[in-house]
């Protein structure tokens, strides 16, 4: 241990990349200390240099990256001065890493047990037998069910959550002093994420490892970490203990980031989300003064002249803002209150009844011999009804059939059975057979902004095409309308001529929204439109969607696995699991008990960016069963934390109605659910902080 007891002590590190255009200083003057057993959360938007910093502190940079100044100490070892060969010995033994994508981090052609044993053999000098025992021991430590058999399996035989556990087991197997976790839960479902976060938390009690935890999710930091550092464009803006930083928020950037996260206790009817205007500056184009000044709302002339250093405001709480005093005065979150719209029931736009979509499925080599065909029941009897100017949120874990349902309604996928009625008219299953005038009424915004625009077409052409094809406009009208649409989605007019690769992810999604609105749709299907974007971009897109709905009266079918986003934007919420609906009701009702045990588990898994909120811990076991082999009775009984009894395995549960159309499909009587679930999951220990 070094004199101050920190495992990792980084001082004034600057990382420089050699590029064609000259040196780029992507991380500048960053210092951080992590004590044994401490979890340090590093947050920031994409492009802020989180991963570069993490790799730099263990000297794991690509060939053109270099640490150009500073010092790095790992306990007593001076990592910065150490020759390359020595550093390699430290990797894997004293320093380990858990990556974001578990599928890419595990060798698919090697047994799980052998992979963990390899670490023990190389770094701990164990023989084969000892290493094997060590692997089983590690798998047991990460609470892997049946570790002996898991050790003999390959990566493709495990689910994402299990793979992430294997990675954690591998990283922990050499008992490292320091561990980097780079977005380890980002690729996972909320429910799995919650389980993994619990696991990391529990393991911390047994090991004394210092952890650098990189994430863009403030809720995850609040739940797991002891300390937080907010990184922006390669510099730390604020650093301190979790409680201090989340309570006081002594930097406008921290405040902005937290303001972007939708709250589970308010919806678009009450507030619009605050968002941070502008973009993160590129490392070759930094402002002279405070690097956050161009996007800051507290900016004054002096901010733009000199770059403020990181100052200690309170004990162990640092901020790089000149105007900390003003920030200390007003702590309250400034949500813009919206006029509460009185709800009036619009006309029914879409009615989908008993939609089913079965995919024929013949496993593996059997298809060669014409073996019996199985059916993959992606959507199994779902009905939804939507009114105009109304948002229906659909939530559920991945693989539950949300997207397939949307694609059936859109007609890209042909439903197996059921009825789709648009404004009173029955629609054909396939989009090819639908008449022209109904085509324009259903539009879709897709998940991946990179794939949803043609890379060879200028943004304006993408938006213009539906105008020409579906609305028969003349060339002049089209030009005017494109300008109008770009204005409506807040993009400058010169973007009309840009190609998609010249736009950021958020801007591409705005173009996609403009394209969808160009057809003047009655129903817009949003399939996870914001999930691959940064929080500040998410917030501004949700505000945009809300504004457009107010002015155009379009209905949205909003699919997401992010419950807080769905809560914010939706009027009604439908909870889907294994191709069926389990609960449906207004957004307010679904979030207060009694709720379906599945909804309850989803809600308790939401990472809430407020360390004072105490959530009940309801965790789901295992992963979603395969839709090829749906459990009998209630489909949820295999994972249900509140399983009622034998009846759940035998009989399909009935729908139970409550007030205002709120319905639950469960065997447990409502009164009993109400009693079990008490006041709900989201309790606050004191009435401070946000609300």
């Amino acid at each position: 241990m070094s004199d101050n007891g920190a495992v990792l002590d980084v001082k004034n590190v600057t990382v420089t990349y050699e590029t064609d255009k000259g040196p780029l200083h992507t991380v500048r003057n960053v210092s951080l200390k992590i004590a044994p057993g401490e979890i340090y959360g590093l947050v920031g938007e994409s492009g802020s240099g989180k991963t570069t910093l993490a790799r730099a502190v263990v000297r794991y940079l690509p060939a053109n990256g270099k640490i150009t100044s500073g010092s790095i100490k790992l306990s007593d070892t001076d990592l910065y001065q150490l020759p390359r060969e020595e550093v390699r010995k430290i990797w894997g033994s004293r320093v380990t890493m858990v990556h974001q994508d578990p599928n890419a981090s595990i060798n698919p052609s090697m047994l799980i047990g052998d992979q963990i044993a390899e670490m023990a053999r190389i770094h701990l000098g164990m023989n084969k037998k000892q290493a094997r025992d060590r692997a089983i021991e590690m798998l047991t430590r990460v609470r892997m069910p049946d570790p002996e058999s898991v050790a003999k399996r390959y990566a493709h035989q495990l689910s994402g959550g299990m793979l992430q556990r294997v990675l954690i087991a591998t990283a922990m197997s050499t008992n490292p002093e320091f561990m980097i976790m780079d977005e380890p839960t980002t690729a996972l479902d909320v429910t799995t994420e919650a389980v993994i976060l619990d696991l990391i938390h529990e393991l911390m009690a047994d090991y004394n490892t210092a952890i650098l935890f990189i994430t863009h999710n403030l809720g995850v930091v609040a739940r797991l970490c002891d300390k937080i550092g907010v990184l922006y464009a390669g510099e730390i803006m604020e650093e301190g203990s979790i409680d201090e930083v989340f309570k006081k928020r002594l930097h406008p950037y921290t405040r902005g980031l937290l303001g972007c996260v939708p709250r589970v206790d308010a919806s678009k009817k009450d507030i619009s989300l605050s968002s941070i205007p502008g973009y993160i500056p590129r490392p070759d184009d930094l402002p002279d003064g405070c690097i956050f000044a161009p996007r800051c709302e507290l900016v004054e002339d002096a901010c733009e002249k000199e770059r403020p250093p990181l100052k200690e405001i309170a004990e162990n709480h640092f901020s790089a803002c000149r105007r900390v005093d003003q920030l200390q005065e007003k702590i309250e979150r400034k949500d813009e209150l919206r006029e509460h719209h009185e709800e009036e029931l619009g006309d029914i736009v879409l009615e989908a009844r008993n939609i089913k979509k079965y995919f024929p499925f013949t496993p593996g080599i059997g298809s060669l011999f014409g073996s019996k065909k199985a059916e993959l029941k992606a959507v199994d009897d779902i009905s939804v009804r939507m009114r105009s100017s109304f948002t229906m949120g659909i939530v559920g874990e991945s693989g539950c059939g949300k997207t397939t349902l949307a694609r059936c309604i859109a007609g890209i996928e042909e439903a197996t059975s059921g009825e789709i009625e648009l404004q009173g008219k029955l629609l054909a299953y396939s989009v090819k057979k639908r008449p022209h005038d109904t085509l324009k009424k259903i539009q879709m915004v897709f998940q991946n902004p990179d794939a949803s625009l043609n890379p060879q077409h200028p943004a304006g052409d993408s938006v213009a095409r539906p105008l020409i094809l579906l609305r028969d406009m003349s060339r002049k009208e089209v030009r005017e309308k494109v300008k109008e649409l770009f204005k409506a989605v807040s993009l400058p007019e010169d973007y009309i001529k840009r190609l998609p690769h010249e736009l950021s992810g958020g801007e591409k999604q705005r173009v996609a929204i403009a394209r969808a609105f160009a057809a003047d749709p009655a129903l817009m299907i949003c399939d996870e439109p914001i999930s691959s974007l940064d929080v500040s971009v998410q917030a501004s897109l949700m505000n945009l969607l809300t504004e457009l709905q107010d002015s155009a009266g379009t209905s949205y079918l909003f699919i997401s696995h992010d419950l807080s986003a769905v809560r914010h934007i939706s009027d009604w919420i439908a909870v889907v699991y294994l191709g069926r609906l389990w609960e449906i009701g207004s957004a307010e009702d679904v979030f207060i008990p009694p709720y379906h045990p599945y909804t309850e588990a989803l809600l308790s898994a939401i990472p809430i960016p407020d360390p004072e909120v105490k959530q009940d811990r309801i965790r789901l076991k295992g992963s979603v069963p395969s839709p090829l082999n749906i459990p009998s009775g209630c489909r949820f009984h295999t994972r249900c934390p509140r399983k009622y009894g034998k009846i759940c395995e035998k009989e399909e549960p009935p729908w139970q109605d409550m007030e205002d159309g709120h319905r639950i499909c469960c065997h447990i009587p409502l009164e009993e659910l109400r009693e079990l679930q008490g006041d709900g999951l989201l309790k606050k220990s004191s009435a401070g902080g946000g609300s």
Binding site: R282, M444, E502, L503, A512
Partner: protein, 295 residues
């Protein structure tokens, strides 16, 4: 997410061409490749004007004369100037290999586009037919066809085109298969675009980079094939100054006069290397993953 990482930085809006040239600079072989091809193109166009002698002008007094001031590449068995013959012969190689490639690219593109987009039985039939062509060694198949049709310039072009259709079709099809699941294609289907519009406007522009790379590779293989057929006497007929044919004829005189073989063979090699460099450079410039861009 890591995905958005590069994107945010790209914001300033560098034009497509602007990004080409720094990349080009990093790979000097690309420049060399382009220079070689330009030089050969120049020779093909102006060859007969630069050539000091007529390609078929015989001088029996000077048979198999070693390289000298009058005949810098020496003379062949009929006393013809090899230098002049190579200059003029470049025209044959480039036009025959070029037209053959163009033919393969055109039909391969059509087949690949429709086969990939339509899928189903049509796709299955087209691809199996392609497999049949691919299963026979190309030189053997070319020889069989040329024996049947009789050797001539046009027939060589047809054979080269025919033999390379499957390769082009396969590459195009694989790109189309990936593109047609992209969401911009789904968006087009949702607004009721016709299949032809989707193929032509949405998919084709995104196939072109891969097609350009494939075409340049096919071109270098075509040069080989044309030269090989010439060597076997199945290509352009004498007295045309075909490089492959010249190498073939030179075999007999190799022990007396090695230059007769070296110069035409060297010309073939140089051209193929040039095209190879260019195709390598095209791949680095046009296809993602070919270049590691940091920053």
């Amino acid at each position: 997410m890591a995905l958005a990482n590069g994107e945010e930085k790209k914001k300033a809006g560098v034009s497509y061409l602007g990004k080409f040239f720094p990349r080009l600079r990093r790979y000097p072989t690309t420049y060399i490749g382009f220079a070689i091809i330009l030089a050969f193109l120049f020779i093909a166009i102006f060859g007969p004007m630069i050539a000091p002698y007529h390609y078929s002008q015989q001088n029996l007094a000077l048979r198999l004369d070693p390289p000298s001031e009058e005949h810098i590449f020496g003379t062949d068995q009929f006393g013809r100037d090899i230098y002049s013959r190579i200059l003029v012969g470049s025209r044959d190689v480039l036009t025959v290999a070029g037209s053959g490639t163009a033919l393969a690219v055109f039909f391969g593109l059509l087949l690949g586009l429709f086969s990939g987009y339509r899928g189903g039985l049509f796709d299955e039939m087209v691809m199996r037919a392609m497999d049949v062509i691919l299963s026979i060694p190309p030189l053997l198949l070319a020889m069989v066809i040329l024996f049947a049709l009789g050797p001539s310039r046009v027939n060589v072009i047809l054979v080269v085109g025919f033999l390379y259709i499957p390769m082009v079709a396969r590459v195009v099809r694989s790109v189309v298969l990936e593109l047609k699941t992209r969401q911009f294609v789904e968006a087009a289907r949702m607004r009721g675009e016709s299949s032809l519009y989707i193929l032509y406007k949405e998919i084709l522009p995104n196939v072109l980079p891969s097609l350009a790379v494939e075409a340049s590779m096919r071109f270098s293989y075509s040069i080989f094939l044309v030269a090989s057929l010439g060597f076997l006497g199945l290509g352009v007929q004498p007295p045309s100054p075909d490089w492959g044919l010249m190498v073939g004829e030179a075999r007999t005189w190799f022990y007396q006069a090695q230059w007769v073989l070296y110069f035409p063979a060297g010309a073939i090699a140089l051209l193929v290397v040039g095209v190879g460099f260019m195709s390598d450079g095209l791949r680095r410039m046009l296809l993602p993953g070919g270049v590691s861009d940091v920053g």
